[in-house]
């Protein structure tokens, strides 16, 4: 025993052994790391079958234009028997991005993806997909080609998440999603305000503030929240479908009296507009006015939208008809000139006549560069999300020529929004399953051509396959909204600042339709 211990003591103190041992460890480590790779490289690759068609991907991220600042487009390979996958993204510049996995779900690493997109603005990405069946049989599909746009998309998307609601509101909220990652944070959930409905989140020039929000809340009436410099003000005025004047001094709003109806065939829900007018909230003087040109007693006016220069207010207008003639209510797309300094209104002009199109216009949105007007046409009525045939149309405001967008599906496409650089649109579509609206992005080039729409990416590519909520009113915002959910909830329940706008009577003007009680009969579950 003794000699051994002596030897051990010697070994511990021998300088040579001290220097050799770490070297041996390092060599072993390097071998352990590299050997499998070397063996794999040296081994002959398994036989692989070439499939002449591209793979079926879910979500469909094939042949699309990608914003250079978007989170990884994870997808599932929707092919029979995918026991393993090997996916390589071959960029024009930089190293390929390769991922492997033991399921059909393909998830790209965030850092590699970002670097690849950044280095390949305006270039193509070739996506090679190989899958192995459980029997060990490999197949390689024809490559998928995508493009990276040079135009970035705004950093955040703010939307409302709710189930397909009818009369009763359960859990719903407004959320913001960082488009560069998968982070989703709630801005305000209705459980924070003891139930109720939250809607019509509206931003000025794609900035996080000022922001306006409409609340339908039993205890607090139906107020609007104004958020400026992180301060929340409760405005004791019910206003829906809001639109900011670019000066930030005016808010156009709609006052509606809707009724929820049901069909026994086809799409179940429908909305009847019994009375609608537009009004202007002058924030600097805290006055509300209902100008006669946009609140005619014999017309239904809805969906106000200022143009980026603030010279025109776009809106939709239809004759007032009884509920029995629901399917004959079709809205024209109108605009009216406005001069902010003199507070003078021009004469309304019809841009798209319902008589000509046999359709009903809704949701006009003008691109920030003032060139394009994107709007919806539906068979009738004022709520395209409930109409299977509703689609997006684009009007060139230089020529006033309009066309149906090729990106429309045979299902409802609506709730669209322009990015701040006028190069991206996001819209809600039911194309995937006919029931839930999901946000789709499309690139719009300078000629107004739209790229193939693609779905908002999620970390889990199968996310949408079991998500029972709809995305409503997606809005691009350049920076994150920083006001907290608690502050917003306090603004509803226990506000520090309250504004009570003064109504400015206009001679000869009839009373506006009650208060904006959109979708009459709807209530929170409490």
């Amino acid at each position: 025993m003794k000699p051994e211990s002596n030897q051990g003591a010697r070994m511990r103190t021998d300088p040579a052994s001290i220097s050799v041992r770490p070297a041996a460890w390092w060599a072993g480590l390097i071998l352990a790391v590299c050997l499998p790779g070397l063996c794999r490289a040296a081994a002959p690759r398994e036989p692989i079958e070439l499939v002449s068609r591209p793979p079926s991907l879910s979500p469909d991220y094939a042949g699309i234009v990608i914003p250079p600042n978007l989170a990884p487009l994870n997808f599932a390979i929707h092919e029979l028997e995918v026991a393993r996958h090997r996916v390589r993204v071959l960029p024009a510049h930089g190293r390929p991005l390769e991922v492997t996995g033991k399921s059909a779900s393909v998830e790209f690493p965030m850092s590699g993806w970002r670097a690849m997109l950044e280095a390949n603005r305006g270039e193509r990405l070739i996506v090679e997909v190989e899958v192995r069946s459980s029997a060990g049989h490999w197949r390689r599909f024809a490559p998928v080609t995508n493009s990276v746009s040079i135009d970035p998309v705004d950093g955040y998307l703010v939307y409302r998440l709710l189930r397909p609601v009818y009369n009763i509101y359960g859990a719903l909220g407004i959320y913001q999603r960082d488009l560069g990652s998968y982070a989703e944070t709630p801005l305000l959930e209705n459980r924070a305000i003891e139930d109720g409905c939250i809607n019509c989140h509206t931003f000025l020039a794609h900035r996080a503030e000022p922001m306006a929000l409409h609340i339908r809340h039993r205890q607090s009436g139906n107020p609007m929240l104004l958020i400026q410099s992180n301060a929340v003000t409760r405005v004791e005025k019910t206003s829906g479908y809001l639109s900011w004047h670019p000066s930030g001094r005016l808010l156009a709003f709609a006052v509606n009296k809707f009724a929820l109806l049901f069909h026994t065939t086809g799409e179940t829900r429908d909305l009847y507009d019994g009375a609608s007018d537009l009004g202007i909230h002058r924030l600097d003087s805290n006055e509300v006015v209902m100008p006669p040109v946009i609140s005619k007693p014999d017309r239904l006016e809805n969906w106000p939208a200022w143009d980026p220069a603030g010279r025109y207010l776009y809106f939709c207008s239809a004759p007032k008809l009884r509920i029995e003639r629901l399917k004959q209510i079709r809205y024209d797309l109108m605009r009216v000139a406005y001069d902010l300094e003199s507070d003078a209104w021009g004469e309304p002009e019809t841009l798209v006549s319902a008589r000509d199109t046999h359709s009903s216009a809704a949701q006009p949105r003008i691109s920030p560069d003032g060139r394009w007007l994107l709007f919806c046409l539906a068979p009738y009525g004022n709520f395209p999300a409930y109409h299977v045939g509703s689609g997006l149309y684009l009007m060139d405001l230089e020529t006033c020529q309009m066309r149906r967008l090729e990106i429309n599906s045979d299902q409802s496409d609506s709730w669209h929004c322009w990015s701040s650089n006028s190069r991206w649109i996001v819209f809600s579509s039911k194309r995937r399953d006919q029931l839930f609206t999901r946000p789709y992005f499309s690139h719009v080039d300078e000629r107004g051509q739209c790229s193939k729409p693609f779905l908002l990416p999620q970390r889990d590519p199968l996310f949408y396959d079991s998500f029972v909520k709809t995305y409503n009113l997606p809005e691009f915002v350049r920076e994150p909204v920083t006001v907290t959910s608690d502050d917003l909830a306090r603004g509803v329940l226990n506000p520090r600042a309250i504004l009570k706008p003064q109504s400015v009577p206009i001679p000869g003007q009839a009373e506006p339709p009650a208060e904006h009680e959109a979708e009459e009969g709807r209530s929170s579950r409490r």
């Binding site: 839930f436 396959d465 029972v468």
Partner: protein, 565 residues
Amino acid sequence: MKHARAIEPTRSWRTHCPGPWALGLALAAIVGCYLVIWLYLDPPARYYASAPVFFFDHDFFRSHLRPGGLLEYGCGFLAQLDHEAWLGALGFTAILATLSLSARAILERTVGVAGLVWTWPGLVLLTLYGQYSPPVWEIAGGLLVTAVALLGWLTWKRLSGWRRLAVFLGLTAILYYLAGAWVCLLFIGGVGASEWIGRVPALKALTHNTNPRPRQRPPKTNWTPALWWQFWTRGVQVALGVLALILMAWSFDHERRALWRIQSEAERGDWGGVITAAAGLREYPVQARLQVNRALHHLGRLTGELFCHPQRSGLDLLASLADGLIACTPLSDTLLELGQVNLAEHYAHEALELRGERPELLWRLARINLVKERPEAARIFLNRLHRAPFHRGRADAWLEAIEHDRTMAGQPEIVHLRSLRPTQDWVERVFPTEPMLRQLLEANRRNRMATDYLMAHFLLTRQPEALLQNLGRLDDTAVSGLPRHLAEAILIQVRPGQEMDLHARTIDPEIAHQFERFRRAAPRPGEAQMPQPALDRDYGDTYWYYAWFGQTHGRANRPPPQDRR
């Protein structure tokens, strides 16, 4: 010897290691508790009444990573066991037993002996279980976590100085994150009590600890005041235990159990079970009314036994939201089976908003979307169900069926429901019953349920002439005879000597004789139309009684009928 025998049981209670009798009693109590929960308290009824939504889902788990969330998650999972009666009973009994043993151990460590106090948490939980709405799994879980933490504290509290403080703070922090504020406060209260219990005589008395050395056997023949005090406190404990049992039985919510049992039987399609469960109700709330009518239809007894159940004039056969939000789920079922798929979708979504993503609602919506030929939407609901305990297998089978055939043309149930759908669009805010049923019959005159319900509607709205006019519809649905209530209604309508087209059907002469007797006994027009017990006894389950008095009371609430002959 008498004294010695009287004191003998005290010894067995005092020993820390229970003897065979005590073990046998405990085992009997556990088995009894299990049987009571399984066979009487009806875990599936509780499942439909108040089981929280639970999914095996990363996001769902992540949403519980907050103070108190993990307890909620764990108990949410345990509450799913109620889906199967035997399993729910087993799980809850196991929790009760563990909690009781933990309580006993805590009491023994703090005051030496436990008396019967250790059984109280279990009794309280059983009482709450019988209420059907309190989150009893979460309460039980919280108590159990508190008990385990207290045992931990009692083990480590002998540490001294800062170590003791660190253990206390550590346990409190862990408890706060795991189980939330109330469990944390309960633990702090328990620690406080354990520190002070030895110093407060009243607290000691509660746990039957008058002897500072409990293991020491008292003198056999010396009836000291302390011994009397022991017997007295034990008597109080037994009395309190008996009182708790009485309170438990008294506070048991039979009505709520019957209501949710109706729902659970209807979910299983056990229509006989629905009728049996409904017998426990004096009045039918709207959800029970809808499910009982549905069950009667499926049993082929709607127009023959409608008035064997409580009915009241003015209540619509098909309810609406105005009758209460609770009607949404059964109304959705009824409308779907009738063929009004869109209206069924409406009410299923209302129920989803009200009650959250409960599996039974997801199933409804999956079916509705398949009938509406929206397989992708159905897949979303089925994928959600794939993550719900006890529903994965069935959901996978449906998903596979959709994968093979997106039209689901091979599924008889789906094909049948599609054949019942209306063909003409009709837009309304509220759909009156009769036009809605007529619309279905216009689309498919062989719609047996719509025919059955139309006849029942005529009965409930006391329209025998409309019933007679529509009697031919029975031919379309291959109903050969004349159900009892229809015959009764026709007899009211017929004038002496009047010929009537009964579409080759005849009225049972016995029913005609009964009607003659009823007419002689019933008040004449102009007389007070107040319900009469004698008529109720003999004719309370007939259309005539309902037509005269506008209500029936159901078999359970009527005096036993005499021989009507």
